[in-house]
Symmetry: C2
Amino acid sequence: MNPFASLDRVRVVMSHTTHPGNIGACARAMKVMGLSRLYLVNPRHFPSDEAVAMSSGAHDILDAAVLCDSLEAALAGTVAQAALTARRREMALPVREVRAAATELAQLLAGSPADVALVFGTESSGLTNEEVAMCSLPVTISTSDTYRSLNVAAAAQIMCHELRSAVASAPPSAQPAVDLAPHEGLESLYALIERLMLESGFLDRVNPGRAMPRLRRLFGRAGVESEELHLLMGALKAIGKQGPRQEGPDPLRGCAKTD
Amino acid sequence: MNPFASLDRVRVVMSHTTHPGNIGACARAMKVMGLSRLYLVNPRHFPSDEAVAMSSGAHDILDAAVLCDSLEAALAGTVAQAALTARRREMALPVREVRAAATELAQLLAGSPADVALVFGTESSGLTNEEVAMCSLPVTISTSDTYRSLNVAAAAQIMCHELRSAVASAPPSAQPAVDLAPHEGLESLYALIERLMLESGFLDRVNPGRAMPRLRRLFGRAGVESEELHLLMGALKAIGKQGPRQEGPDPLRGCAKTD
């Protein structure tokens, strides 16, 4: 079996990219490492001749890129999301070094049939705190202390290279495949918990404190399975006396295939 | 002590680069990983506004770049040379995967006070066989089987990232520093051996076979120290009855500091 087949389940998500050349360079960086699935959240210019020029023959990846109007839509269906970030900030989740993150993702790909995502922010300021909070795995690439200007396509090149290396050396999973809850399921859970906490008066609407980041950290660390998610949602709804269960949002809302 | 100080002894050598934008992108890739010493062997256009634009603030590396008229000149004084190559070819030396090469270079940097080089070829065809043969360490980066078009600055980004990672995790050398013979010293040795073998009739001038690549492989694997080099040169010259020892070429011949 091709050890790199699992790379077909890796989405590279570029959020609000300013320069189309970087989208093309990212497509090339992906393709040379055996990745193929590009998701673009509100790019400033796309499709673009500059992107095609910079893709250097990887235009098939640009042609197949999925345009999304929100990061949530791009992450729907993924069970792990690596958020590439250079900035120091108070993280809800512990930040992983790129190689450790790649190993973790490779193990996940081996043990689960679902998609994972690598998420990259804008050229000028990276991912917002809100975008990082939507991901399960904040990832940082070690750089010089005095010059941290890593180009977004160069960051993608490093991340894809590390993931390819990790996939090549990941032992085939001995454990049965785990049915992890998808991104949108967990977001529904967080939304439900937050609403219940607010309605119950446990959380102060004006000053909600660190409760939600802490809960995200807990569930993120645990790796919630689909059955557990259903259990949690059901139990919480019953406890909150929310009546009959409502369906969550359509996970594919906001995504369009380009052609 | 700063664990990354040894990166100051790493030369990034770009040979016959066609597009100045790639030189700028390479400077940025170096700087963000804490490398600073760029050597340019016969670049098509340099200095260049496009290089400055693509360097994104790493113009200090471009300003300090050393222009050379031969690869030999750029490698003079280095004790190890990693040749980045994608092509399959009959190598005199075993090809290392990029992470293994980075580990090897990091150990060398920890155990020797001398410079090492990372060598990159042209955009269209990479390094020539002759250029690879001048280096001690052919290195390859694993890519997709169906698309191998790794941009030269992206390759530099991966190599510099791997070297930074390896330097960060390399234990301080417990062994005394080794005085390895510099590149130009080994080249003099090879030139001497080849001449002696030809003059003696051992080698056929028209059909020299694989003797020289094999000897390069042997000495490359051994890691010749300066004292051993002097011994070999002296012994061979005496054996070949070459009379009084001649000085080798000036190691700085062909290098000019840009400003």
